[in-house]
């Protein structure tokens, strides 16, 4: 039906006849002539319908936006002065000799309109995807996965598919469940990740595995989450933490180079989890922003200001300062107040600050309601540690370490962007030396910071049991511009260590056997040292596409309530279907 894509017709074809097919992007009637911009995935092409070709012209008069047509015609240069340099086909036009209307279109609910609201865009996703920017994004996604495969295939990684109907695993989120028809009352779970299967593949001796694989988490959805998402999942054997990280860094560098032509600043800096929290209040610091937190607890522990002194004396507390260069000059009183409201969302009960007007004047050169509570030594210590200069503003966080980190960490990002202090470009890094465990004060038990299969640094199970609080894991996260784009670890490959970790996590021998019996059994048969990583494909493509929503790089995404507005899923199902699956619905009881 077609000899060329619209976007590929250019002056080289002048004088030749071509057949093209696509959509009426725009129609203009001008001087008795009909001009149609015909669109296909490769671009636009101007078609001219001359009134002298009466029959075709009559058909052309019926054309409306988004009609799908096939056209045969003569390529000719556009008249002087009418070329369009923005189009690959902009030097030429096609004089139509044959027109076939393949299918008509009603007036679309929106027309290539970036500003259409997202609900409408999702309901008519097939129209939204006709937009050039969306076509580019999904084609970029394909180039990214292609580049990943090329690199990994070249390096001897084997693409192996793992099951989707699998056993519930404890990855920290709710599972999507699938009732079984052949096993009454039992359920499969959709995988939160192929974690255990890829470990089993290492036990099988495949040595290097990858898969671009769909994963599922039934979470309360945040902006950057989808109930189903795609990860580049990788596992290797006989490699150290260091080797895996080098390998994975090279992979990501190669992809950015191949797809975007961008050189990432390698080697990526590495910072420990502890340092990341200390300096940035976050385990995924955005290095494009130069602001840093500094600890001042030791300076204010004995001051009269209880808001500072109490957390400073608490082992779980933190008192930190965030210097905003020239913040005292650049920020209005209202903007400063807004910051107080902002950190409130992260649990901070207030936001003390000191304005540095003129250092040379000592106390008198400073401006702050809290000055009176602080000794000269404390003030000087803070100013020195924060490296304060005239015109700066210093914010303080004083609370539990978690609240201080969350609130000042977020404030750091906000101010970096608001005050135009964020650098452009790519700032990747590795965060390493994560603690093995975090104490869950509510549940009164240890929880795994990565997952229960992550290996600790120490080789000895008894050593781990003796001091879980200080155990460091062989985990690593790759962070790009303030977002975790990949996370992984060396795994436990010995059954005694795996049992010890289950124990510490409060998974008793019986539960361990029931849930992970197959893993504990598999570990008995000569398991190689192994480790790996999982990259969030959606997020990586989102970054590369320069958009801020993963919904923009997924063909058919779901809404925040996990609904598909296009097909209208989920839906009720028939009683017979439920019966076959041995389940029944229990609707929530309406109160009142």
């Amino acid at each position: 039906m077609r000899s060329h894509y619209c976007g590929q017709v250019d002056e080289i074809l002048s004088g030749q006849e071509v057949s093209v097919a696509g959509w009426v992007h725009r129609r203009r009637d001008h001087g008795g002539v009909i001009f149609v911009d015909l669109r296909d995935r490769e671009g636009l092409l101007q078609i001219v319908f001359d009134p002298d070709a009466r029959e075709i012209f009559q058909d052309a008069e019926r054309l409306r936006g988004e009609f799908c047509v096939r056209i045969r015609g003569l390529v000719r240069p556009r008249p002087p002065g009418t070329a369009n340099a923005a189009l690959a086909s902009g030097q030429v036009e096609v004089l139509a000799r044959e027109l076939e209307i393949l299918s008509r279109a009603e007036t679309p609910p929106f027309h290539h309109d970036e500003a259409a609201n997202e609900e409408l865009r999702l309901k008519y996703r097939y129209l939204d995807l006709r937009r050039e920017v969306m076509q580019k994004r999904l084609r970029l996604r394909h180039r990214v996965t292609r580049a990943m495969r090329d690199y990994l295939d070249e390096q001897g990684y084997i693409d192996i598919e793992t099951p989707m109907l699998t056993k519930a695993t404890p990855e920290g989120a709710r599972d999507y469940l699938v009732p079984s028809r052949t096993h009454a009352g039992q359920f499969f779970a959709l995988p939160q990740s192929p974690q255990l299967f890829k470990q089993l593949l290492m036990m099988s001796g495949f040595d290097r595995y990858y898969q671009i694989v769909r994963c599922f988490r039934d979470e309360d959805l945040r902006a950057e989450r989808q109930p189903e998402f795609t990860q580049l999942d990788i596992e290797t054997s006989f490699m150290s933490e260091e080797q895996i990280m080098q390998h994975m860094e090279a992979l990501i560098c190669s992809i950015f180079a191949t797809v975007l032509g961008d050189e990432l600043p390698a080697p990526f800096p590495r910072i420990t989890y502890a340092e990341a929290m200390r300096r940035y209040g976050s385990d995924k610091p955005d290095l494009r922003i130069d602001l840093e937190l500094v600890d001042v607890a030791d300076l204010v522990r004995d001051c009269e200001f209880k808001v500072f002194a109490a957390p400073a004396a608490n082992p779980q507390g933190r008192v930190a300062a965030l210097r905003v260069p020239q913040g005292g000059v650049r920020m209005t009183r209202k903007e400063i107040d807004d910051c107080t409201a902002f950190v409130g969302r992260y649990g901070a009960k207030g936001l003390a600050y000191v304005k540095v007007n003129e250092l040379a004047k000592g106390r008198d050169g400073l401006q702050s309601p809290i000055l009176k509570f602080l000794s000269d030594a404390a003030i000087e210590g803070i100013l020195t540690r924060a490296a304060a200069a005239d015109g700066d503003l210093i914010f303080f966080g004083a609370d539990t370490a978690k609240v201080v980190n969350d609130s000042l960490g977020a404030l750091r990002i906000k101010l970096g962007h608001d005050l135009g202090m964020a650098q452009t470009g790519w700032r990747p890094l590795w965060v390493v030396d994560f603690p093995m465990f975090e104490w869950d004060a509510d549940a009164k038990r240890w929880v795994a910071l990565h997952h229960p299969f992550t290996a600790p640094r120490c080789e000895d199970a008894a050593e781990l049991r003796a001091d879980p609080a200080n155990a460091i894991s062989k985990g690593y996260d790759m962070v790009l511009n303030g977002s975790e784009i990949g996370g992984g670890s060396v795994r436990i490959h010995r059954p005694d260590m795996q049992s010890a970790v289950f124990d510490l996590l409060g998974i008793g021998p019986e539960e361990a056997q029931q849930k992970f019996g197959f893993l504990l059994e598999a570990l008995k048969y000569g398991t190689p040292p192994h480790g790996g990583i999982a990259f969030g494909l959606d997020r990586i493509v989102m970054f590369m596409a320069g958009t801020d929503s993963i919904r923009d790089v997924i063909a058919f995404p779901k809404t925040q309530t996990a609904a598909d507005l296009l097909t209208n899923a989920p839906t009720p199902v028939s009683e017979e279907q439920l019966k076959e699956l041995y389940i029944r619905v229990r609707l929530p009881v309406k109160v009142g």
Copy 2:
């Protein structure tokens, strides 16, 4: 940890030191020396432990089968006469200088033993996958998908992911359902295929789409089915049936050439559905077998033998003969009787036959209990039509067309193999011109032979409504050696035709709106002519691997009852989980 894979150490490295890591495949103690065949994914390597290196030797004495170890040692030629030509590393051995036991192994439940029963192989899949043949199969699978992607990327196809949590679609099998937590009492379905999404992608203008994608069918499992399976899913716009078939044929030829170096006999022969049923009793004929069915109803319609005469006179009936060359000589009486039992499984109530001893003798040269019922003319007609020769055996099927086709079609395959009449090699073909509809006599309604989105040959909806029984679809199946490996069609791209097909299938306007409203809506906005195909990846790889079970080419397959013996899925889940999903279990009531 490793400088080389075991299988890559060869005489070029003689005199050098290497580090290798892998599994103890075999250990032999011979003349005071310990020999270990070390295995990794690339092959075996002989390691020698000399008793003079006492410390290492002591460690080596602890080695058992499947221990995972790292070894550093000196590559040296094997002593004269001890080379092993079967191994890439067979000219050399490594004299161990360092041995690290990375992890121990208990005695495995089976040891590289092809004959282990499948249940055990599935339970200890990670051990089963250590076998060389399994490693090769899964690596072959990767090479196949790689070849598919290379070809399609080259041809401008775009790899686009479609949702897994989607709306129930009527693809002829049961859906796997996923209860929604955010929409009480509602369910997602796992896709039986991305059919409607790929059509929507054509409506979005992507023009050429592919995806290697997991699909789900909750069927009663047959040998070649898995609850989850993988297909190569393809869709294109602006191409005719003919162009799509040529394209897809070229794709498959390219894959067989790239991966196996095999040239498929192209162009693939094409036969119509009607001809396939007539000559082979099957819409997926195995062309490696030269036997064919011939119709003889017209010859026996008036005979006294009611078993023949009744189906011969019935428009739904069929009377056919299957000539087995030299069957009268080669088959024993017992073998012939076994055939009667065999066709019984397909519903045939008997299996009449005529033995052709000596044609020249006329009636007297034949041997059969049914001869007495047949006129000379009928006998002569049958012999001529079947092209009978001395020594042949002619079987008859007489029943409904379905029973005759099923039973003689299966008998044809069985005898072809049993009597060694099947050719070797690849015999692909296209089956085309499928009927649009089949009459379901039980349900008293038309059902779609492909799916409800398949376009009919006729362009006019009124024409289709007028004579659905004779409507031919634009569907096509690719068949290889008696198995359907791909199936597809040109799709309906106009809303009036789609509505007509829904109508004919008994899907009223309301139901159509509820189930396919989004499709009918999408068809209004300039839908391009489009079509595609889906190939069964598991089956294609199974063929290429030369095995007869798709479980052999799936890393973690399920059993016939849709269970995963390795992880023990499915499992019961907690009451809290069910509550959150607004469902409860109803177990079957035990009777008695």
